[in-house]
Amino acid sequence: MTAAIEASGLGKKYGRRWALSDCTLSIPVGRVVGLVGPNGAGKTTLLNLATGMLAPTTGSIRVLGGEPASGPDQLARVGYVAQDAPVYAGLSIADHLRLGAHLNPGWDADLAAQRISRLGLTPSQKAGTLSGGQRAQLALTLAIAKRPELLILDEPIASLDPLARREFLQVLMETTAESEVSVIMSSHLVADLERIADYLVVLMGSRVQLAGEVDQLLASHQLLTGVRRDPGSLPASLHIVTASHTERQSTILVRSDEPVLDPSWSVSQIDLEDLVLAYMGLARTEPAGPVAPTAKILEEKR
């Protein structure tokens, strides 16, 4: 089965700055992928590489087995809502739907018309007069109605109010429920993605910090709390992600495929947001102290 996105050693350099470096990923099809990271982490760069808007400086990327934007066929397979949901301000909603119909052989006119009427939009309205949420919905409608196999959304809800956010995600969830489409959606907020993502990629400082199925990520991470001690005393099978210590207590996030059986630790599950924040914090500050098992991750960062 071909991957939705298969990247290997992928990097993009602007001038002397690496916007994305050494990105190796294999995201299976059929997932709703959340791409999380703070602003400037390289999310847009990665998505632009996936849509062929950018060419990589190093490495390679294949999308649904093909080279991004290599031709009309490949373009037809990927729907893209770029950052800020660009639409033609001078054209009406109906014009945009005609544009979609003329430029996409797989265009689903019924679907497009249905979505527009369900959103309560007037087809004759000029796109320039739409609110941010309506514009995002129009851009999403264009991307969905071309019936892509992969839908790529770059911060589609970042600028929307809470109600518009909810509506947008609602439409997105219905779409994924109705069709086999894979989705990759970026956001700098985990909360936006928590409800719909079943696969997570965390980008930080131009590097992939974490990638995997949400269920597996949650199951393989445990938060250990106990009497303060040196993290080096933990069994080697546990990979320490972060460790924090108060005077009397140690809190350690470990990654392990096996359950932690040591009764001196109180073991708890971590939620998605805390997990992402832990990996983001890891990339931001280099923890001091004897944290040998995390050295591998730290090396990746340097």
């Binding site: 934007a69 066929d73 660009p86 301000a89 544009l99």
Partner: protein
């Protein structure tokens, strides 16, 4: 892609079609009056008296509004290609970059090269068609005047023959080439600069530069000019200029008369029998106040000077038009190819 291009260009297309229609009516009405005057004066049927009739016709036009319209027509023919480059060419793709809409367009199931080629091709054709229609209308309107001016002896308008640099660019098919080039130049500037207003400014500056270089440097040599020599006749010469600088020897420049109706004279030199440019020194017969003008003429004639004229004859109007249009079309196609290549390669 054709539909989208049309939809985005529709407003401009309708506006310019309306302007052309209004212009066609105005030119049709006044042009008719011009033709009947031309016939009334007898220029349509003249045999030997054409030159004087032409002068009379031109003189009559000086007082009416026809003269103003003639020059307004020239100005319009100069302005339209530049305007097309600035207002159709420069924003065509630069505006997509500015508004980010290229990210929408480039993610439809149409390759970028096709997107660029259709936009360039269709709007470029519209640009050429607009300039062509305008040139056709204005060339038709001005044809009585152009004919009269081509008789050349009409001293009021000797500089406005169809081949003169001023009129040449506003007649025939050359404006089609200018429009195509200006449009492609505007698009290229927009693609490279990515911002509409700076691209417009760059388009104007480069286009104006090319339009100045073309008649001064390139056009005279598009076809090898004709050289003609004739014995210099002082009695019919146009100009004797004698200059003396301080105590040095005085120089004398002679300009011979010529009769080449409608020709574009590139140079008119007076040379000695040995082929050198004649520059004096003048004999006493020419510098002394007491000598008669005839004495000076006789002395000049005794030198057996020759007049050397380099020119493009009036019959070269169409060959030169085709050559020049060809040059501009080649430039336009090259710029179009550059744009398409840049867009295919350009990222985000």
């Amino acid at each position: 892609m054709i539909w989208l291009t049309w939809r985005q260009f529709r407003g401009q297309a309708i506006t310019s079609a309306a302007v052309l229609a209004v212009l066609a009516i105005a030119l049709g009405i006044t042009g008719h009056g011009l033709v009947s005057r031309y016939d009334q004066i007898g220029l349509g049927t003249c045999q030997a008296t054409c030159t004087s009739l032409a002068a009379k016709f031109i003189d009559e036009l000086q007082v009416g509004h026809y003269s103003t319209m003639f020059f307004a027509g020239l100005a319009l023919m100069y302005a339209v290609p530049a305007l097309i480059g600035i207002f159709w060419g420069a924003p065509l793709i630069a505006r997509e970059f500015e508004h980010g809409t290229h990210r929408l367009a480039w993610n439809q199931s149409v390759s970028r090269s096709r997107w660029a080629a259709v936009k360039l091709g269709l709007v470029g054709l519209a640009a050429v068609a607009t300039a062509g229609l305008l040139s056709l209308m204005i060339s038709w309107w001005a044809s009585p005047i152009d004919h009269a001016l081509n008789y050349g002896a009409a001293n009021t308008g000797a500089g406005y023959s169809q081949l003169s640099p001023l009129v040449f660019a506003a007649r025939g098919i050359a404006p089609l080439g200018y429009a195509a080039f200006a449009f492609a130049l505007g698009v290229t500037a927009g693609v490279l600069i990515r911002r509409t207003v700076p691209a417009m400014a760059v388009t104007l500056v480069i286009f104006a530069g090319v339009q100045i270089l073309m008649p001064t440097v390139v056009r005279p040599h598009l076809i090898l000019p004709v050289q003609a020599t004739a014995p210099f006749n002082a009695n019919t010469a146009d100009d004797f200029v004698i200059t003396s600088q301080g105590n040095g020897p005085a120089t004398m420049m002679l300009t011979g008369n010529y009769s080449r109706p409608g020709a574009w004279i590139l140079s008119n030199q007076t040379i000695t029998p040995s082929g050198r440019l004649f520059d004096g020194p003048p004999a006493r017969a020419c510098t002394s106040n007491s000598a008669s003008p005839q004495a000076c003429d006789n002395w000049v004639n005794s030198l057996h000077l020759r007049q050397l004229i380099t020119y493009q004859p009036a019959s070269r109007f169409w060959p030169l038009q085709f050559a020049e249009t060809g040059v501009y079309l080649v430039l336009a196609v090259a710029l179009g190819a550059l744009c398409t290549w840049r867009i295919r390669r350009r990222r985000a």
